[in-house]
Amino acid sequence: MIRRKLEENFFRILMVLATLIVGGSFFLIVGTIVYKGAPFMNWDMITKIPGGGFYIGKEGGVLNAIIGSLYVAGGATILGLFISIPVAIYINMYLGGKNFIANGLRIAFDVLFGIPSIVYGAFGFLIMVYFGIRASLLGGIVAVTLLVIPILVRTLDEVIRTVPKELRDASLVLGATRWEMSKVIIRQIRPGVFTAILLSFGRAIGDVASVLFTAGFSDNIPTSLHQPAATLPLAIFFQLGSPVEEVQGRAYASALILTVVVLIITVLSSALAKRFSKNNIR
């Protein structure tokens, strides 16, 4: 009897410890980044592009990478939306959402979601070589779009599934075609689309492996789709490899910027989802 009680307590303590480690790892990571990055943070970092001798520790910032990342992540998310909204609607509205094909497609997109970004990056590079495009903003956007489509489709799919069936039936019974019904549904899922956009943007802005070969790197802010673009994660990666202490410090500061951006996006997405869903018919 006592042995059972002891076992129960032992494992309860073990569980609390495990939870502390798992939950605490988040604070450990963010704490480390803030602790190391904050001393090197200044206005120049986010308002200036790299000046002459930036990579040996002279003045400048990573504005080029910040803007480049926003371009790549924004472009990919917009391009991805144009593809994934119709796909999500097709799965749920035209295929009915609950049969064998629809479930098969869901699994297919889950599998696509699992394919690592390095494979998308290598494949994107293959396509670019095939079409004779050099590493550029366009190449980066295309590779990252491949990466975010599964995220967008699966998120939108989940959102559409929460729309009450009565709403579809009501529009169908009034004589609407499936496309007209879809328009009603799109209006219903607007907050969900926001969540999907933020999720995809967050993933896109943080990914390195897919832009490594496709977007290139440049000290200037790209002005056209055919120019190479720097991205924030890549800037962190390159600067961290430098032997100069000052440059390494800037890597920490860049990491801090990226962390803050991503955390804001994550918090926003969950807050938005909650707030907008109040006005929806459930």
């Binding site: 119709p86 699992g114 970004s117 494979v119 998308y120 290598a122 990914d207």
Partner: protein
């Protein structure tokens, strides 16, 4: 009237086209990588490529054994660390934690999943590497720089925490309440219920989550590349540096294309990753989907 129906038809076909197109990316990626790795496959057989550890691109020798072992080492370490911790955490969240605690905990697990890989890499370099170099390695080996498969494994473990915890929690929540209640009513403690009822019931889900986590760990590139040491030798202990496949691709691709067959060999590495991860993903996703459907009824 007719126009509306035509519009519906047209949109239907357009959407079907987009759907087929985006799903066929899997096929296109597979075929593209296979075609590109053709030259190196003609030169040497699958078996030689996989089992030889001779990596001398200049002589045309491409043996992936060391890289495969590097990948396996970091993945195995990551799973060994992450799985017990995540299972205990999931049980705590679903069974023990008061509602207040749960409401705080779950968002943090989600936040963790949103952190980009490169940040994990920076954290690994700043925190894990010194920790191993100064505090862990000296107890076991004479000297270690800290850049090792162990560092890669730890960083990966933290990266897959959110994935395993969220899936296992979901699986645990779908277990019928009656089963738990029956066990508790017979006088079993909570832990005994977990051990003898829930673990058994959740087994397929836990296995699927693990397989999914393995495939995630397999393909993770940049975080591992930053902490693993990238030395093309087969690791023999956890303090040895390793060189996982994705890191190999990321480090060399686009640079050494003048060496014959180098590109093809790297494409073969990508193909290898792709096939393994595809298989793992399909298995675990089908298992999870089946679980979900069974419980929805």
């Amino acid at each position: 009237m007719q126009f509306r129906l035509i519009k519906d038809k047209v949109y239907s076909k357009l959407m079907l086209g987009l759907t087929v197109l985006s799903v066929s990316v899997v096929l296109v990626v597979g075929i593209g990588l296979y075609l590109k790795s053709g030259p190196v496959l003609e030169h040497s057989s699958w078996w030689t490529l996989l089992s030889s550890s001779q990596w001398k691109p200049l002589k045309g020798l491409f043996g992936f054994f060391s890289f495969i072992m590097g990948t396996l080492w970091v993945t195995a370490i990551a799973i060994i660390i992450a799985l017990p911790l995540c299972l205990l955490t999931s049980f705590y969240i679903t069974e023990y934690a008061p509602n207040r605690v749960r409401k705080i905990l779950v968002p943090f697990v989600n936040l963790l999943s949103g952190i980009p890989p490169v940040i994990f890499g920076v954290w690994g370099v700043l925190f894990i590497i010194p920790l191993i170099q100064n505090h862990i390695a000296p107890h076991f080996v004479e000297f270690s720089t800290g850049y090792s498969v162990l560092a890669g494994g730890i960083v990966l473990a933290v990266m897959i925490f959110p994935l395993i915890v969220s899936i296992v929690c979901e699986v645990l929540n779908t277990i019928p309440r009656e089963l738990k209640d029956a066990s508790l009513a017979l006088g079993a403690t909570k832990w005994e219920t977990i051990k003898k009822v829930q673990l058994r019931k959740a087994k397929p889900g836990i296995i699927a989550a693990t397989v999914l986590a393995i495939s995630r760990a397999f393909g993770e590139t940049i975080a591992v590349l930053m902490v693993c040491g990238n030395n093309a030798v087969t690791p023999h202990s956890v303090f040895d540096p390793g060189y996982p496949l994705p890191a190999l691709i990321a480090n060399n691709y686009g640079e050494m294309l003048s060496i014959p067959m180098y590109e093809s060999a790297l494409m073969f590495a990508a193909l290898l990753l792709f096939i393994i991860i595809l298989l793992f993903n399909i298995i675990s996703r089908v298992v999870l989907a089946r679980l979900e459907r069974k419980l929805a009824l």
